[in-house]
Amino acid sequence: MNTIFKIHGGIHPDEEKQLSNPGTVLDAGVPPSLILPLSQHIGKPSSLCVAPGDYVLGGQLLAEADGMVSVPLHAPTSGTVVAIEPMPVPHPSAMNNLCLELECDGEDHWIEYAGCEDWRVETPDTLISCIRAAGVAGMGGAGFPTAVKLMARDRLPLQTLIINGTECEPYITADDTLMQVDAAGIVEGAQILAHILGVEEILLAVEDNKPAALDAMQKAAKARGGDCNVMTFPTKYPSGGEKQLIEILTGKQVPTGGLPADLGIVCQNPGTAVAARDAVCFGKPLTDRIVTLTGRALARPGNYRARLGTPIEHLLTVAGFDPSQNRRLIHGGPMMGFALESSAVPIIKTTNCILVPTEQELPTPPDAQACIRCGLCAEACPASLLPQQLYWYARAKDQEQLERHHLADCIECGACSWVCPSHIPLVQYYRAAKGMIKESKTEKIRSDRSRDRFEARQERLERETLAREEQRAARRAAAEQKAAAGGADDPVAAAIARAKAKKDSAGDESANS
């Protein structure tokens, strides 16, 4: 039953996985201070429940979830809240966002926490609230609140949980490492998630370039019994894209604009599975994660367990950063990660990798040349788009053709840019075009609304005019009737009535104008 399906496109960049020595976890230590953004997830920022000057213990709640699509935030160690203000956060736009600065006391005192004794007897709702309370958000990259994703069970019939241990991006080995050191935790986490979702089938997906992780996962799945299938498939970027992985494992495609849940599938990252297990079994909040620190500008690349909020500059120091050969600091992997301007930003729940390459390793791209429509991009595109056509239409700002060529289905994996022999930053064009379309849609909604308002007003005015005319006609008829009835012998009364009617209608007209 475990057939593997082929997906279109994909590329084979140098993997560079061995550089960060997958399978060993190093300790990044406790930095002097932590910077904790209130928004480390998709959704509303958490709302604060501490104030500057407060002393907090490790694991203590710092900010509560604000609304449904939000997650709480906990202190990763003990210390004093020294500032709550906008600070630079890891974001492609280098923006500032509200952060909490925690001065660590180095004692690492923690609150007491406890989890469920046996999750198998708990209701899904209880378990979801455990996961929600622990601040778990997707650790693969997007940071979607896990509890919200699990609530798909209420809306759609689900059959399959996929744990996405593909990690197809070059350099990154955080999931690889986690699978090697805590396979049992991942499998148990997966079983908890499956229990919540009410699904029978668990697929643990591992790309075939991670034999040690694959072996560990197979052993753990066997040890825990029954319902976990470890699946492996040939290495290719971007097999780990959620939509691509679903097609590889099931042969089905997530319909455009839809979610995996529409196919009865939910995908989770191995790190998220472990965080869910920790939340349910131990009541432990999510306060640290494994981060791959890699690139040839580091003397000691590796996988480090780091507290959330650790400034990247602290991590670079720990890993022996040599700035002389380096020009770029990348949050994430070389394919989809974004460049950071400053190393003063902290790591967050979604930080799986910090890449500091030498200039020789990942050279600054040369100027783009003309597109020769060679079509290598179309060969590489995992969504079967025609990137070369999208490029022309993006440059021409031709929205109609962009939509006809399904720009919205671009997952921005970067495979097209990677292969482009003319070094055209294709993905950048698509991002800009998507932004443009979004903006013009918003604009359209706004103009539709004002048109509706205008039309409603016109209609009302017409209605009022009509009503007035009817009234006038009625009055005139009444006057004439009256004149006809009694006025034949009395010309004076008739004249008065006529004058009165005339005056009325003149009055109406002036009201109308």
Partner: protein, 343 residues
């Protein structure tokens, strides 16, 4: 400290456009070697003279268009255009014929439309067609192959190029011409009675075609272009030839093998219709593009008036490429109509 801000992806494949062009140039070498063996140094001289002229014209055109020549000349694209055109020109052509061809290809075929990547027609074929229509006599005098005529030396070749009417070499009708002009002979009799025919097609030509086929297969193996257009063209050309073969009668249009190994077939299939800029862009589109070139090639060969038909077939299909693109968009992920999907 401040780092460079560059958008993803941060890595890049080792292949660049200049290397694509270099690979195409390299792949023409077997064909050029065989051409030179059978027809003498004329083709080589064409290529060298045409190449130098093309580089100069390209530099001037880039300068006029405010583009940095140093940077854009390095993409080798103009050398590909000039080399392909010069391979197609008759050896020992006068210099002004080559110059007119190069000028038409580089300026009219390429820069008038905005340079590399913006030309709707294959520049080399634009140059070729301008010459074919303007100078039909010079364009159809093709040197007799080795074994059937004297092969000129380098000095003689240079004189032929630069001194008007100095060269009185042996020119012969090509096998394609002979077949078209054949009125009374059975195909077998035509082959045995005419020295220009070799084992499968024309003497020399069959090996020229095999050499270009080899270069083309290497390019496909290198991933420079896909197999779709060439294969589709060869299949439809073969099918048309099979239909028109008429069991080798005096009315026969020639066998599939004859057409595959004659004239510009393999050169066209692998070096001309694979030009990505002026061709169809999706793989399905390339299949249609190649298939239609094959049909047109056959029709113009057997029913037309020109020595070969490739240039016209390609230019006509260049017109059609945007239209083909419009109707051959691949099915995007998530757009497949799924069976039993009630949404």
């Amino acid at each position: 400290m401040s780092f460079l801000r560059i958008t993803s992806p941060h890595g890049h494949s080792p292949l660049n456009t200049a290397q694509v062009m270099q690979a195409v140039l390299l792949a023409t070498i077997p064909g050029i070697v065989v051409l030179t063996w059978f027809f003498g140094p004329g083709t080589l001289l064409n290529i060298v003279f045409g190449g130098v002229l093309a580089l100069v014209l390209e530099a001037i055109a880039l300068g006029l268009r405010d583009r940095a020549p140093q940077r854009h000349l390095k993409d080798y694209s103009v050398l590909v255009t000039s080399t392909l055109l010069c391979i197609a020109l008759p050896p020992y052509a006068p210099w002004w014929l080559i110059a007119t061809g190069i000028l038409s290809a580089v300026i009219l075929g390429k820069h008038v439309f905005g340079g590399l990547g913006y030309n709707p027609f294959n520049p080399a074929m634009v140059g070729y067609v301008v010459l074919l229509i303007s100078f039909p006599l010079q364009m159809s005098s093709w040197q007799a192959p080795r074994g059937l005529g004297e092969i000129p030396g380098v000095a003689e070749s240079l004189t032929a190029m630069f001194v008007p009417a100095s060269y009185d070499g042996v020119t012969m009708a090509t096998p394609l011409d002979l077949l078209r002009q054949n009125k009374g002979l059975l195909l077998d009799d035509l082959f045995s009675s005419t020295p220009q025919f070799g084992q499968w097609a024309g003497v020399g030509w069959e090996w020229v075609n095999i050499a270009f086929l080899a270069g083309g297969v290497w390019l496909i193996y290198r991933g420079i272009f896909t197999w779709h257009a060439p294969l589709a063209m060869l299949i439809t050309l073969g099918l048309c030839a099979a239909i028109g073969f008429d069991s080798g009668s005096s009315e026969s249009g020639g066998s599939p093998l004859f057409h595959w190994l004659s004239g510009a077939t393999m050169f066209g299939a692998f070096f001309i219709i694979t030009d990505p800029v002026s061709g169809a862009t999706s793989n399905r589109g390339r299949l249609i593009f190649g298939a239609l070139v094959g049909v047109l090639l056959y029709l113009i060969r057997v029913a037309g008036n020109y020595p070969d038909a490739l240039a016209f077939a390609v230019l006509i299909l260049n017109f059609a490429a945007p239209f083909i693109d419009q109707y051959t968009q691949p099915v995007t992920y998530g757009h497949k109509p799924t069976k039993g999907d009630d949404e």
